[in-house]
């Protein structure tokens, strides 16, 4: 399946690491956003994006707010969202689940986990 990823993180380093990892997994199309607001603008401008990977703690619009915005938007609600964050306490995961995140990775991540979660999301969608 050809996927076009939107990688959302305020850290340039993390965006590069995630994109490098996706490239190693064989994916080739990426769009970057530096926060939730930027991500929503990119999503509005590019309807070929098929997968969102987002951080949680970001300025302006957080990853959690981004997920809520995506999942309550009639046009975007089916877009799979994977959260990659340092937030690992139970309450945070519950909050992300309640916002309807599709899967959740705790940083620092490994390529194996990233692949596993993307595959899980795709298999749940099909």
């Amino acid at each position: 399946m050809d996927l076009k990823f939107l990688v959302v993180d305020d850290s340039v380093t993390m965006r590069r690491i995630v994109i490098n990892s996706l490239r190693n997994l064989g994916y080739a199309e990426f769009v970057e956003a530096q926060d939730g607001k930027d991500a929503l603008e990119k999503l509005a401008a590019d309807d070929s994006i098929t997968f969102v990977i987002t951080d949680w703690n970001m300025p302006i619009v957080s990853g959690l707010e981004l997920i809520r915005a995506i999942k309550t938007d009639a046009k975007l609600c089916k877009l799979p969202v994977l959260m990659v964050t340092t937030r690992g306490i139970k309450e945070d995961i519950i909050e992300a689940l309640n916002a309807k995140v599709n899967n959740y990775i705790v940083k620092p991540f490994t390529p194996h986990i990233l692949k596993e979660k993307i595959d899980q999301i795709l298999s749940n969608l099909s």
């Binding site: 703690n57 707010e65 690992g88 940083k107």
Partner: protein, 255 residues
Amino acid sequence: MKQATNLGELFAKLNDLKSLFHYGQKMIPIIQNLIDFMGETVPLLENINQSIAESTAKIPKATNQITNVTSANELATTEILDTVDAISSDIFNSEIVINNVIKTQEQKVELYNQLKEQLKGNDKAEGTLAQIISLDETVATVKPLLEIFDKIKTGAYNITLSLQVQDITAQQLAAVNHLIESVQSKLSSLLTEFSEADVKEVKVNKFEFSDSTKAAFNPDARYEDMKETQQMADELINKTNLTTASQDEIDKLFS
């Protein structure tokens, strides 16, 4: 009779006055002590005030230094990532060249075999060809290089993954900065109340640690093996079957 009553009242008042003077006499040393104490305390309070003012004035410099550390780390990380990407790109191009060499060599082997067939019966020529084949060790030489390249690629990728530490330490430093700024804000207000001293305030973020979900950093960010935490996240995600989880459902998972 009335005069006697008036005198009685007068004496009573005089007695009260005497008691007051007597009490006042006892109070004088205490008041003196209090004045002495105040005399000693005021310079002390002024020192504290000055010390707070100096410390408060230094805080913006401290936060700037932390911000500079974060920026320097990010710059260095970007340089490392650039170098790693360049190495990976060189390895990728070298692999293409080596694979082409191997492909050409396989074609050569095919031609050698054809030539061998054509030279059958000519012992001298067959001998020479056998020598050429034995000298040609291109594939044996370059194939191990591909394994070395694989190791280099894995190493380079592992370096990339380890650089996640930059993002995590940046969040930790942002949390420290936030704390310092909060302390500075508090000290400034204390100082204003104390002596109306004018201390330059630094910008303080509006969010609190108690609601770090909206902050641009996670104060609890850690760079360590998160296997157990990831397992907990996986259990939550899997057992709730990707639907909205109630607190009861979640609690059952952990009971």
